[in-house]
């Protein structure tokens, strides 16, 4: 069947035009060959990073597995906006059990497929940061430790958005949420180390760990496809800005995600068996302020006068990531 792909041209970015790229790496926004695993008509907010991330991740996984895919989903925005009864946006076999058990449910599905001799059918588990780094963490670690044949994808929007923007262990320092109010002597979230689940996943020495953002969808797709080419426990952590919870304009989701990477606040890398194997380098380094300013959750840092001490603290975190992961081109770092 002949089909006409609709080409995707990103504006306001550093990409060259699609037409200058070889056909196989050109971005395609829509095509009849796309599976649309997460179909249109769902109830996500305008500019939802999670919906974008899930759509690309699942379609990539479908393509990589020749459409032999089952998904388990944690409670959260993704589950709620995609399946209000009697409608569902999922075009793939999909199950939601409870909030904290998604990795274990996926383990059960994988075990059933194995025992039935259907190991060509693959399993993806997915959830938000709450369902991954907090309530789902025990089951996630168990799945990693047993090296069960599951890809777990965390769509990290750095708080409990579905319940009204409450703090999670993925919420960054100083960020305002409904439970880390922008009041008092130290407004916003306290500065701890948070819970670095990609690093914790690496500590389980599983075959594959990767991070990605919705600003680089090719990269995201490539990582999902890489993951689906591997057996055993795999983990992909995708940063997905949330216009509602972060307080940025809904058309800025991609820009904010890119700034998270370009500031060094969110390192984008791949790891195998506990060792980093590749990093996605920063193309034009930005100060953290460029990332923080457009987000209302950090608005309290930019009063009169600005809270330069806290901004410096966040900059130090970004600098540490840049150093630790080697995020700058060697000549820039020198």
């Amino acid at each position: 069947m002949s089909y006409q792909p609709v080409k995707f041209y990103q504006t306001g970015t550093f990409t060259v035009g699609n037409r200058l790229l070889p056909p196989d790496v050109r971005s395609v926004q829509s095509t009849q060959r796309r599976t649309n695993s997460l179909n249109s008509g769902h109830r996500a907010c305008q500019g939802c990073g999670e919906a974008l991330g899930a759509r690309y991740a699942m379609d990539a996984a479908m393509e990589a597995t020749d459409r032999q895919l089952i998904a388990a989903n944690a409670t959260g925005c993704l589950e709620v906006f995609s399946t209000p009864y009697p409608e569902t946006s999922w075009q793939i076999p999909w199950i939601h059990s409870v909030f904290g058990n998604t990795a274990a449910v996926a383990t059960g599905i994988a075990a059933a497929l194995k025992v039935k001799g259907r190991s060509e059918v693959r399993v993806v588990a997915q959830g938000g940061d709450g369902g991954t780094t907090d309530i789902g963490f025990g089951c996630l670690s168990g799945m990693f430790e047993r090296n069960d044949d599951v890809l777990f994808i965390c769509y990290d929007n750095e708080a409990y958005m579905n319940t009204g923007v409450q703090r999670s262990s993925a919420t960054p320092g100083a960020a305002r949420t409904a439970t880390t109010m922008a009041v008092g002597e130290a407004p916003g979230n306290v500065f701890g180390q948070g819970k670095n689940v990609p690093a914790i996943a690496m500590a389980h020495e599983i075959p594959y760990v990767a991070t990605a953002t919705v600003a680089e969808l090719h990269d995201l797709e490539a990582k999902v496809k890489t993951a689906m080419g591997i057996r055993g426990a795999r983990y992909i952590h995708i940063l997905v800005p949330c216009p509602l919870g972060w307080g940025h304009a809904s058309q800025d989701t991609i820009r904010i995600a890119r700034l998270a990477k370009e500031t060094g606040l969110f390192p984008v890398f791949e790891a195998a068996y506990g060792e980093v194997t590749s990093v996605s380098r920063i193309r034009r380094r930005q100060p953290v302020e460029a990332y923080l300013r457009p987000q209302k959750r950090f608005a309290h840092l930019f009063g009169d006068p600005p809270n330069s001490a806290v901004i410096a603290q966040l900059q130090a975190l970004a600098d540490r990531n840049i150093r630790r992961y080697g995020l700058l081109e060697p000549q820039e770092a020198a």
Partner: protein, 417 residues
């Protein structure tokens, strides 16, 4: 084949005959021997094809079972006590999704104070979770109920909990008649799921349901349980014909035809009660027993019929609804057509406290004489309780109750009289 084996081993062998495809194991006494035995069978290749998964918690055990069942596999796990509570969210979820997982609950008390011994608090805490709950009286019945549980659960798309008394049954070496593989295969057809996660026919399972349909979904769950009440007697009869013994069913009456007093109970304590009843019958006392095998769904009509002639009812139960009294007796009262005040609750055996014939016969005699209180606690040591209460009256900072009582008692141990 007749065998002299531990209850846990007997159950494990029966489970293996049911050809489970995914087994999740997490250790908690007193169920652990069951999954240990199954794990060995899988590892030796005797039970195949089957995936045996060592999970990191009971919550994960039930969750793995949910995933496996939703993908069309026959899934089994076992737990007890704290473990059942820890997986409670997933327990409700399995029944809500209509997934026929079978789980053994080796009944054990719930802490605090922590206690590993037998009572029914664990299973009773989940009585409204939407699972079918069957209680075994003997190791033979425990074995048989598991075989029936898979058939019942899979026919109705409902999970089934087979409850057997921890230690009293799980760790007791008794003679059992182990069926053959051919017998079980003939009784239990392969699992044909009503819903399954399959790329060739994608479905969404576990979608969000709002006020427009939630009532209907819950009502249908109730309808399915009521359907179980219709099916269980027939299947127990079919089981009797195929295996040559009575096991399962909704309930069992014992010497109750002309009984003025009927004692109602669940589980292994029925054996002791029957011995007491035999002794009292010899003295000419018209006393009988009603053993409840199927607690959920509650066999309302069958209990009503079984108690119709009784002037007095004593419900002896190994669980306590703190702040109310009896749980089983509350159910019994809904089915007893006589004066509800004639139904007396005797709480017994909590945390493994031995239930002796002496104590039982004393309670039954009091019931016949009309002196048994509406709610009583078998063999409760009043002096210990009085001392604890006095201490709390006298001192504000009276300290931890359980530790104080142990100090009062001096020597810790079972105080069998």
């Amino acid at each position: 084949m007749l065998k002299q084996v531990e209850g846990s081993r007997a159950v494990a062998e029966a489970i293996a005959l049911c050809r489970p495809e995914v087994i999740c194991a997490y250790p908690i006494s007193p169920q652990t021997h069951i999954v240990e035995a199954l794990g060995e069978m899988v590892k030796r290749g005797v039970l195949a094809p089957c995936e045996f998964i060592n999970v990191e918690s009971e919550f994960a055990a039930m969750s793995v079972a949910i995933g496996a069942s939703a993908a069309g596999a026959r899934a089994y796990t076992a737990t007890a006590s704290q473990g059942l509570l820890f997986m409670a969210e997933a327990v409700f979820n399995a029944s809500g999704l209509g997934l026929p997982v079978v789980m053994t609950v080796a009944n054990r008390a719930i802490g605090a104070p922590i206690n590993i011994w037998n009572d029914h608090t664990d299973a009773m805490s989940q009585r409204d979770c939407g699972w079918i709950q069957l209680f075994a009286e003997t190791n033979q019945e425990a074995l048989d109920l598991h075989i029936q549980a898979f058939r019942l659960g899979e026919e109705l798309s409902l999970p089934v909990m087979v409850c057997m008394d921890g230690f009293i049954l799980t760790h007791a070496y008794e003679r059992v008649d182990m069926p053959t593989q051919a017998q079980v295969d003939a009784y239990l057809p392969p699992y044909t799921p009503r819903q399954s996660l399959d790329p060739s026919e994608p479905v969404s399972i576990g979608a969000m349901v709002g006020p427009e349909a939630f009532m209907e979904v819950r009502y249908l769950a109730h309808v399915k349980q009521m359907r179980a009440l219709e099916l269980i007697p027939g299947w127990a009869e079919e089981f009797r014909q195929a295996f040559g013994r009575d096991s399962g069913g909704l309930l069992h009456s014992y010497r109750s035809e002309d009984a003025e007093l009927i004692v109602v109970a669940l589980g292994s304590v029925l054996g002791t009660i029957k011995d007491s009843v035999d002794a009292m019958r010899e003295r000419g006392i018209r006393i009988g027993v009603l053993g409840i095998t199927c607690f959920r769904p509650w066999p309302h009509d069958a209990v009503r019929a079984a108690l119709a002639q009784a002037k007095q009812v004593v419900v002896l139960e190994k669980s306590l609804a703190v702040g109310l009294g009896g749980i089983v007796s509350t159910n019994v009262r809904t089915s007893y057509t006589g004066d509800a005040r004639a139904v007396r609750t005797v709480i017994a055996g909590l945390g493994g406290r031995p239930i002796t014939r002496t104590a039982l016969e004393s309670a039954f005699t009091q019931a016949l004489e009309g002196s048994l209180e509406a709610l009583s606690f078998l063999d409760l040591d009043r002096s210990v309780v009085e001392r604890a209460l006095a201490r709390e009256r006298e001192v504000r900072r009276s300290g931890p109750i359980a530790e104080n009582i142990l100090r009062d008692l001096g020597v810790v141990g079972a105080r069998i009289r």
